[in-house]
């Protein structure tokens, strides 16, 4: 326990009555002490403790996070690994928080500054735990993207394997697809033809598993676009899943229409759009517009 008896808590002179929050006495006390210590810019163990207690109650308190960072920087002997562990605990209880993961990246930068290296292995358990809780957690995937960039993990086997594992579990996990795209192409390096073909084979197999899954179609088209490849090569796949007498998917029809447009087979493209108008009727106006833009 730390002693805070010397702290003078300031309160706003005439607080606005509008939407005042009826804080518990405990919280009033905590936030009051934290703000007082922050004003005097105290970097101490007791200050660190108080930020911890406020953040445990209100993880969105960005002012307190920022103060905590300055304390951690000020306390030279405080273990930064311990700080990462604590961060992980807060994260598990606050999956939708904006501050935690950015803060974590700042602590890692601090470790790099002080020690010159950082062992990435310690990041994987917490990431796994978080994405196990919510496999599409935006903040966590964004942090993982930061790791890839910061530690140059482009085309890293571990990252690839991880997205494969996630897509194995749920082929509709669009966050995993997006991460894979970044790992593969995010650094703008040229890929070999073998690498490209392997990836296209991978996605095509995923389309075969779930032809109505928009994620894999978007990914496939994304790769073609990014690498300036000829989309008409996808005609066999698009045709395969645009047979009304068999398993079909609106994404295949759409792709087929785009291919036909490219080939200047406008009348056939218009037929496809007409079919989409009818079958995908919520987007009727959109398909009609796509169709109306074709110029003969």
């Amino acid at each position: 326990m730390y002693d805070y008896s010397d702290i003078v808590i300031e309160e706003p002179v005439e607080p606005s009555p509008l939407c005042q929050i009826l804080y518990s006495d405990e919280f009033k006390q905590l936030i009051g002490i934290a703000k007082a210590l922050m004003r005097s810019n105290e970097h101490s163990e007791r200050a660190l403790k108080i930020t911890e207690r406020v953040i445990e109650k209100v993880a969105a308190h960005y002012t307190i996070w920022s103060y905590r960072l300055s304390i951690v920087k000020g306390l030279q002997n405080y273990s930064l690994d311990k700080e990462l562990d604590w961060c992980g605990q807060i994260a598990v209880h606050n999956p939708k928080n904006y501050q935690i993961w950015h803060y974590r990246s700042l602590i890692i930068e601090l470790i790099l500054e002080r020690i010159g290296s950082f062992d990435l292995k310690q990041e994987y358990p917490i990431l796994e735990k978080m994405l196990d809780q919510d496999s599409k957690n935006y903040h966590v995937w964004s942090y993982r993207r930061w790791l890839v960039e910061r530690f140059n993990l482009f085309r890293d086997t571990n990252e690839f394997k991880y997205t494969e594992k996630m897509l194995e579990e749920d082929v509709r996990n669009n966050s995993a697809w997006n991460h894979r795209f970044f790992v593969l192409l995010g650094d703008k390096k040229t890929l070999t033809n073998d690498q490209i073909q392997a990836e296209i084979d991978y996605v095509t197999a995923k389309v075969d598993i779930a032809p109505t899954n928009p994620s894999s179609w978007n990914y496939l088209k994304g790769i073609y676009n990014k690498l300036n490849m000829d989309v008409t090569n996808l005609q066999p796949l698009a045709t395969k899943y645009s047979d009304l007498n068999s398993v079909h998917s609106q994404y295949a029809f759409e792709l087929l229409a785009e291919i036909l447009e490219k080939q200047k087979l406008f009348e056939q493209a218009i037929d496809i759009y007409a079919l989409l108008e009818e079958k995908d009727s919520i987007r009727k106006r959109y398909w009609r517009w796509r169709s109306s833009r074709l110029s003969f």
Binding site: P12, P15, S16, P17, L18, C19, I21, L22, Y23, S24, F27, I31, V58, A60, H61, Y62, T63, W65, S66, L69, H102, L106, S135, K136, Y138, W141, S142, R145, V148, E149, D170, V171, R172, N173, N174, S175, N178, H179, I209, A210, P211, T212, P214, N218, Y219, G222, I223, K226, V247, H248, S249, Q250, K279, D280, S281, I282, K284, R285, Y286, W289
Partner: protein, 412 residues
């Protein structure tokens, strides 16, 4: 009752469109995505079935009085202790509530307007002049945006005049990053929200210049993903909230009719229309995620900008979105919500109403300003007085006309 008949008939149409292109989804491997999607569909199907089994005259209407009471209750008494979770979001609370009130067509009286002014000024961080999440908190980009919007909607011009614009300008410059983006606060994260909020703040305060705009367009454009939507940061996943921020900011930095010159507009439109789900009628925020009422604004709100960019109206299905809002997003006893299994909150109340407004209006862009027009084309939607809310400025997210009044105040 012509309008109610139309809503009913359109819902029936949607309901009966059973021969969907994606009927084969059921044969694919089960996964978390499919399971949670089916659960939501079951909830909604049941609601739609119930409505269609009743008389047309029983079709849900906007329970305006109840929502109004919900909003006014929270504007007139203290918030219970669990709201401590929002202690870093005071300006947001005010904006969500007062904007909802304004959208419902209610007057903001001078007492409330003054109280809002007082409250927002209380959140000003004296060091930087910008607004924080509450009294004694550090200046924050989103809090500054929300606080300014609260002043704008409530026409709290006396308080607005007390903001120190030159200090805020300097703070904005400090938040500006060499790559063109902005960070949220000292030691804070950079993302498309921060850029959008910064551009809105600078425009409302009439302090926008080349230094603040520097490379912002390039940075925002680099957030467009292979799917067509925008992410919070280059390389992340396309997301409704970030897409709105990026496209609205670009529309302010350029003009909405110029969007195609800086981004892949066709891909953006394709991603946007795919957010609308065939059964629900409502919108999701990402590919393969669930419908959520708040994306009626973040994604639905892109519609007016895309309509101006293309000259093509109704890229999104307005009446089916309106049906989702009226049938699924009104909580009992009051307030608006994400989906039937969720409870109402301030955030959803505001953004669902913003989305409802979009379904009822077209926006015209003229001399740098937006003018809202109530839709009267019965093939699109029919807007009855019972359900009508005020038209919404598509970039600022406040009723049309209010932002330019605020800017005029500073310009004078």
């Amino acid at each position: 009752m012509a309008q109610i008949n139309l809503n009913y008939d359109k819902l029936q149409e949607l309901f009966e469109a059973s021969d969907r292109v994606d009927e084969f989804r059921i044969k694919e491997p089960a996964s978390r995505t499919i399971e949670s999607q089916m659960e939501v569909e079951m909830d909604i199907l049941k609601i739609y079935e119930d409505i269609l089994s009743q008389e047309k005259s029983q079709f849900p209407i906007l329970t305006r009085k109840r929502h109004s009471k919900y909003i006014n209750t929270f504007l007139s008494r203290p918030l219970p202790a669990p709201f401590t979770a929002l202690d870093a979001s005071h300006p947001w609370i005010i904006y969500w509530l007062v904007n909802s009130k304004a959208l419902l067509g209610e007057e903001i009286d001078s007492e409330l307007s003054e109280n809002i002014g007082h409250k927002v000024l209380e959140c000003v961080d004296s060091e930087t002049g910008a607004i924080g999440g509450g009294n004694g908190q550090m200046a924050h980009m989103a809090a500054t945006y929300a606080g300014l919007l609260a002043l704008t909607v409530s026409k709290s011009y006396k308080a607005a005049a007390q903001l120190e614009r030159s200090k805020i300008y300097n703070w904005l410059l400090e938040m500006k990053q060499p790559d063109g983006s902005f960070i949220m606060h000292y030691n804070g994260e950079a993302d498309t929200r921060a850029v959008y909020c910064a551009i809105c703040v600078a425009s409302l305060l009439d302090i926008m210049d080349d230094k603040l705009a520097y490379k912002a367009i390039d940075w925002l454009a680099s957030c467009q993903t292979y799917e067509g939507g925008f992410s919070g940061y280059p390389g992340d996943e396309a997301h409704g909230g970030y897409t709105f921020c990026a496209v609205a900011a670009l529309s302010m930095l350029k003009s909405p009719s110029d969007l195609a010159s800086v981004i892949d507009l066709d891909n953006l439109i394709s991603w946007t229309v795919q957010r609308q789900y065939s059964l629900e009628g409502g919108l999701s925020g990402r590919t393969n995620k669930l419908v959520d009422g708040c994306y009626s604004h973040w994604v639905g709100g892109l519609t007016p900008l895309l309509e101006i960019a293309t000259g093509q109206k109704d890229l999104l299905n307005r009446i089916q979105l309106q049906n989702y809002i009226l049938c699924c997003c009104q909580d009992e006893p009051a307030g608006l919500r994400d989906k039937p299994s969720a409870r109402a909150d301030f955030y959803h109340t505001n953004y669902v109403l913003c989305g409802l407004s979009m379904t009822q209006h077209y926006q015209e862009y003229k001399d740098g300003e937006y003018i809202g027009h109530r839709i009267s084309d019965p093939s699109v939607t029919e807007v009855s007085d019972i359900n009508h809310v005020r038209s919404l400025d598509p970039v600022y997210g406040v009723p049309n006309g209010l932002a330019s009044q605020m800017i005029a105040l500073y310009r004078a």
